[in-house]
């Protein structure tokens, strides 16, 4: 009886796993098919041959390559900036003696609850005034500011658990605060920095609203928004659409395959951003 119960549980759990994976499996299938196969044969049929031509076509014909490299550029720049600034603030909040560290921490944590949509119009207005509309900085700065709270939250627990003894020994040896931060503390936080970077990367790579609002030039768009417009032109060529979407999904899936433990850890640590 217990055995049957357990078997049933597994059926349900594996069933859910299939549901979670199925749309991606289906996308992979149709990215390798042509329209005839998609519209005339069963949606679940395997492609008659692996048509990588869809991938080649969208990579060479559209701006997908440009979007792809833009996405990498914005993502990496914003992640580096966010990690450096967030590490410095977290260091100051947890290790330095000053009044107001609680208020500053509170300001950053309240930032978690603020919807980006409520800032969109003024940001658009300011960026237009200072000439940052259609400029990579509008994205990099916005990503950095909005990811700062979650990043500090992930770093915070790690910093609080760090021992003070090494710092005290360094002070006795005459080290400056900058020396302690850059040479001692920052290297010690490498594991949590890796986790926070990956979480940041996933958010930045997938971001939609800021790009859609601040960037209108095709040369500067990212994959998420570029794809959306590109699909408009190809609305009937499902194979091409599938291949385009795969370009946005594959990097994230690869990273997940390699670093899934760190990602799981980071999402659990930063669970406030839904």
């Amino acid at each position: 009886m217990q055995r049957i119960g357990k078997a049933l549980l597994y059926v349900v759990l594996i069933g859910i796993a299939i549901i979670q994976l199925f749309p991606i499996y289906w996308l992979t299938l149709f990215s390798l098919k042509n329209n005839y196969e998609i519209f005339n044969l069963s949606p679940l049929a395997l492609p008659q041959e692996l048509r990588f031509e869809n991938y080649i076509k969208v990579w060479t014909e559209g701006n997908i390559a440009t979007y792809f490299f833009n996405s990498i550029f914005y993502t990496v720049s914003a992640v580096i900036l966010t990690i450096v600034l967030a590490s410095m603030v977290t260091f100051a909040i947890t290790r330095l003696q000053w009044r107001g560290h609680k208020i500053v921490l509170g300001l950053f944590m309240l930032g978690l609850m603020i919807p980006i949509h409520s800032t969109l119009i003024p940001l658009f207005n300011t960026y237009t005034t200072i000439g940052l509309i259609n400029h990579p900085l509008s994205l990099i700065l916005s990503y950095t500011a909005f990811n700062m709270p979650i990043t500090i939250m992930i770093l915070l627990g790690f910093y609080e658990a760090l021992s003070h003894e090494i710092e005290e020994a360094a002070i006795i040896d005459g080290a400056s605060i900058h020396h302690i931060f850059f040479r001692i503390t920052l290297p010690m936080t490498a594991p949590v920095i890796a986790t926070a970077s990956i979480i940041n990367m996933i958010y930045n790579w997938n971001e939609f609203v800021f790009v859609n609002t601040f960037i209108s030039s095709d040369e500067l768009k990212t994959l998420t928004v570029g794809i959306q417009n590109f699909i408009g032109q190809y609305s009937t060529d499902w194979g091409a659409i599938g291949a385009t979407l795969m370009f946005s999904i594959i990097p994230i899936l690869l990273i997940f395959l390699i670093l899934s433990d760190r990602i799981v850890e980071g999402i659990a640590a930063g669970s406030v951003k839904g």
Binding site: L9, Y10, L13, I16, A17, Q20, P23, I24, W26, L27, P43, L85, A86, M88, V89, F91, A92, L96, Q97, W98, V104, L107, F108, G111, I114, P115, H117, S118, T119, L120, I121, P122, L123, F124, N125, A145, F146, M148, P149, H164, I171, H178, I180, F181, N206, F208, V209, T224, V225, I227, L245, S248, I249, L253, S260, I263, V264, S271, V272, G274
Partner: protein
């Protein structure tokens, strides 16, 4: 506490840049949003001060209240789906082999760009060629619905991918919380003859109640801010039937160029998010006293 002594210059270096970005890109803009709400403004030309006109119009705007109602439906649906996620987490955490792998698989949809998720589900819902309707027609249903094109169904058709997308996220959080429940308590109850169901409901659930409350805040506030999927899949249509507060704000400002009114909606959205957070947290503090 053995904090290091810091000079004013040190603080300026370490706190200054991050704080400046936070104030400049998050806090000053939300104040500006409230202020722009007092203007009549097309986004490019001069702003004309109109006082509370936009805010008063908002109170009488049935489209806005419709969008607020749709946001509420989303919030209720995502809070109800928490029960489903919680149940799965209980099963996963009950010493099941492969639980680690399964919860990682469940997480995958959350890693994908909303554009990809939206396009994928639009293909599934496609009235003539979509997988869903092909399947329904094979079952003998002759006129399956148009899903996203049907004003009565569009909003609910969008709720399904949201439940799909966030399942792994909440399961991950619940699973981590359940793994932190001390084994000794569970063991003691088992020796006293409590059934697994009883242990789950009377021992484990109360112990992770704080985490459950956090997820309720997350689900509620997340739903109020919900935008990407709706904007891409239906744009709020057909005829406003899937419009939510964020998409109404976006469409008003960036597609109809009514930035003053859009700002008023944006400010309302902010207030509602903060009030919702506050209320749910207050409720959970009140609850805590009961134990």
């Amino acid at each position: 506490m053995n904090r290091l002594k810091a000079s004013k210059l040190d603080l300026l270096i370490y706190v200054g840049p991050a704080l400046l970005l936070l104030l400049g890109i998050v806090y000053i803009p939300i104040v500006q949003t409230g202020y722009f709400g007092l203007m009549e403004w097309n986004g490019i030309g001069e702003k004309t001060f109109v006082g509370l006109e936009n805010y008063l119009a908002l109170l009488k705007d049935s489209k806005f209240w419709g969008s607020a109602y749709h946001s509420l439906i989303l919030a209720v649906a995502s809070i109800i789906s928490l029960i489903f996620y919680l149940t799965i987490s209980f099963v996963l955490a009950s010493r099941i082999k492969g639980a680690n792998l399964l919860r990682k698989i469940y997480l995958i949809p959350m890693l994908l760009a909303s554009v990809a998720i939206a396009q994928l589900w639009m293909k599934i819902y496609n009235p003539s060629n979509g997988m869903l309707n092909i399947f329904l027609m094979k079952l003998g249903i002759e006129n399956p619905p148009a899903w996203l094109g049907d004003a009565n169904l569009a909003l609910y058709a969008i709720i399904v991918p949201t439940i799909w997308q966030y399942a792994g996220f909440y399961i991950l959080i619940y699973y981590a919380a359940l793994k932190n429940v001390p084994e000794s308590l569970v063991e003691a109850a088992r020796i006293d003859g409590a059934s697994p169901f009883h242990i789950a409901l009377k021992i484990k659930l109360p112990l992770i109640m704080n985490v459950v409350k956090v997820t309720i805040v997350l689900a509620a506030v997340g739903s109020l801010k919900y935008f990407d999927l709706i904007y891409i899949m239906t744009g709020g249509g057909p005829s406003g039937s899937s419009e939510v507060m964020a998409s109404y704000m976006y469409n008003t400002a960036f597609n109809k160029f009514d930035f003053g009114y859009g700002s008023a909606i944006g400010f309302f959205l902010l207030v509602i998010c903060l009030v919702a957070t506050f209320i749910i947290q207050r409720l959970s503090i009140a609850d805590k006293d009961l134990y």
